[in-house]
Symmetry: C2
Subunit: 408 residues, 2 copies
């Protein structure tokens, strides 16, 4: 595709005006929105208000006056519109890992007599670590891995209490058929927990419509909530009475300001809270979620697929030494494209040297995120042009691109 | 004390210049620093840098370039100086409640054959709720309450795995003899966990010197870290090899970027981390902790005691209907003073109407925090003057002060 053709696509893109609502650094093509989303400009005002007015001026009274106490469910309900959840079923709180501990514990607890947790062998490792931590405290539980190439049917039986599944694979970008898999898990008598980290804000979700039981996810990738922005829990309202969770802090209490000595859980989604939440990070996230309220997720999905198709086509045309790890059918792919090369680390570093920021996952995977709210078709064409230069000139051989980075 | 005498005390106060480093609203006397500390002015610059430079411009590269990844131990080591902990034993992370779950679980796990958790009946209720949540998952454990008036000796025996104690009582302000109690708990073969929420930044602490095992605390009270600022964990280095915790997320992994399928804990204090931390809230907290680096905690303690003594003396002189719940010996009191009155709620609301902000804890306790970094002797005199007016004129009878507030 020529630059001129790409510019024409951008001209006709219904999401093009959204880019103006983000801060994109000069000279940077940002293909790492699947790791840390770009900053919505509205964050600046939200932070200034939260710091200079709410904290500095209103002090302790801001908990009520500025709605701080209710931010978990206020933000949860706004996020609910993005993930297909009716109000009262989503809270923004804590981290994905901590929320995963809560919902896995809750699912096992709600399914007595069943002792197996199913998780994917190729899961984001943190999900496995959290499952292992749960097993350390409950040695009668068992972790059963869903191997690559296996179907969910291969691992479901009457012993499975809960299946923990990633909507989008963090390496390959493969997108599961969440509706079908949810139904299969439930038919076996287990509960399903979806990890939405790589799906929220990128893929249209219909948690209520698909009858999902539980879900967790982060808000700092395609949801652009800021570095380490608080994560979320979704729990279907039909399950609220059945579910308990072990991190029973005072924010989860039915009457937190009664200061009773005994814990009594809130009847609703607040039962998934624990302690006092980081308000400043929540207020930054709020700016981004408010922005999403006006976004058509079908348009996001359509552009995400078109950007990725363009990226793959250009890579195949220009970079014969790179192979595509991601599924080729756009319907089974999330919003990032994974390329494989033994020198993947050095190649991504050389690309960063050219202002094209993607990332790398050991041992050989380069990931390029298509964030439709701020990425242009022309960016994709220019990014592949830079990648082709890096490959053609073997720029990655430069020693300064070879040193492993601790964090990318 | 006359206003002139108070002003003279302020003139001679070695901590007086610190007040300029905080934003204090016009017309407000802020006696709620034991709940949410006032905002250090340096927060503004830190937040602007974190948002406009680090997130907006550096994007994903900020994790390394701006030290985001290491904030938990960077901030932990700065905080360590305030609480008497050598480097490598403190991390700033998650919430007090979550950290409490981690360290209680770890202490029980490290003490096999012992099944009792001791906690105070009058503890901040969240500590009891978290303990109850732990018991929900481990029904062989038992919670033994240390009642009011009981000595720690009364509840220690060979069954106690861990004693969870509040350094400063959230209601009365009573300060425990942490060194002596730590020794007693350890002599019984148990580990001690201190909740430092109402002590950190107000009372000189010597966790290493007192041979403390484990501690948790928040950073948004006297440490002025901002609303819901991340909390901390202290674990003595001599215990690191013995301790595990169940919220084993990827930030606690020995090699988080190796993306191994199996969890292997970091050998050091990072083993108490779990998932990705709220960077913006951490960067606000950093401004406040940096400010503390230059503060003499002995001077803070001396002024805290002097302010409280002045407050109590003035209350007793001016407000005969109020009684002092806090210990009268300044050596056994933290940094807030609790007054009792059946109409405590309405009295604190009436005081807020006069610009004097304290807080209320059901059923009848009014708390007034003495934050020596930004409070003046003249403020204390003026606050009691306002309190005397509220009492003398029975201003609290005004119906607008009677409605219970959800959060104060």
């Amino acid at each position: 595709m020529t630059e001129r053709q790409a510019v024409a696509l951008d001209r006709d893109d219904p999401l093009a005006p959204m880019r103006e609502r983000f801060h994109i650094p000069e000279g940077v093509i940002y293909l790492d929105g699947h790791s840390l989303g770009a900053m919505p400009k509205a964050v600046r005002d939200n932070m200034a208000t939260a710091v200079d007015t709410e904290w500095a001026e209103h002090l302790i009274t801001a908990w009520r006056r500025d709605g701080w106490w209710h931010l978990p469910e206020t933000l949860g309900d706004v996020l609910g519109r993005v993930i297909g959840a009716a109000p009262g079923q989503t809270v923004v709180t804590d981290t994905t890992s901590i929320n995963l501990h809560k919902v896995l514990w809750a699912a096992v607890d709600a399914n007595p007599g069943r002792s197996v947790i199913v998780a994917e062998a190729g899961s984001f490792p943190a999900d496995l670590y959290i499952t292992q931590g749960l097993l350390a405290g409950q040695p009668d539980l068992e972790l059963r891995l869903l191997g690559e190439g296996q179907s969910i049917d291969d691992v479901l039986d009457n012993d499975v209490a809960v299946a923990l599944l990633n909507a989008v694979d963090y390496r390959t970008g493969a997108l599961m058929d969440m509706a079908a898999v949810t139904a299969k898990v439930q038919q076996s008598g287990a509960l399903v927990v979806w990890d939405l980290c790589h799906a929220g804000g990128a893929v249209p979700l219909s948690l209520d419509g698909w009858n999902v039981d539980l879900a967790v996810g982060c808000t700092y990738k395609y949801l652009n909530g800021g570095p380490g922005a608080p994560a979320f829990v979704y729990a279907a309202v039909r399950l609220h009475q059945r579910l308990r969770q072990p991190l029973s802090g005072w924010w989860a209490h039915a009457e937190p300001f009664a200061f009773e000595p005994g814990f009594r859980a809130d009847n609703g989604i607040r039962k998934f809270l624990c302690g006092t939440q980081p308000v400043l990070s929540m207020r930054a996230l709020q700016a981004s979620l408010d922005l999403f309220a006006g976004v058509d997720m079908a348009a996001v999905r359509a552009k995400s697929m078109a950007l990725a198709e363009l990226f793959i086509a250009e890579v195949e045309r220009r970079c014969p030494d790179l192979s595509v790890l991601s599924p080729r059918d756009p319907a089974t792919r999330g919003s990032h494209v994974a390329l494989v090369h033994p020198e993947g680390f050095a190649i991504s570093q050389a690309l960063i040297g050219r202002g094209v920021i993607g990332d790398f996952r050991a041992p050989d995977v380069m990931r390029f995120g298509m964030a439709p709210l701020y990425l242009r078709y022309a960016d994709v064409v220019a990014a592949v042009e830079a990648l082709a230069q890096v490959m053609d000139n073997e720029e990655w051989r430069d020693p300064r691109f070879q040193a492993p980075a601790e964090v990318t």
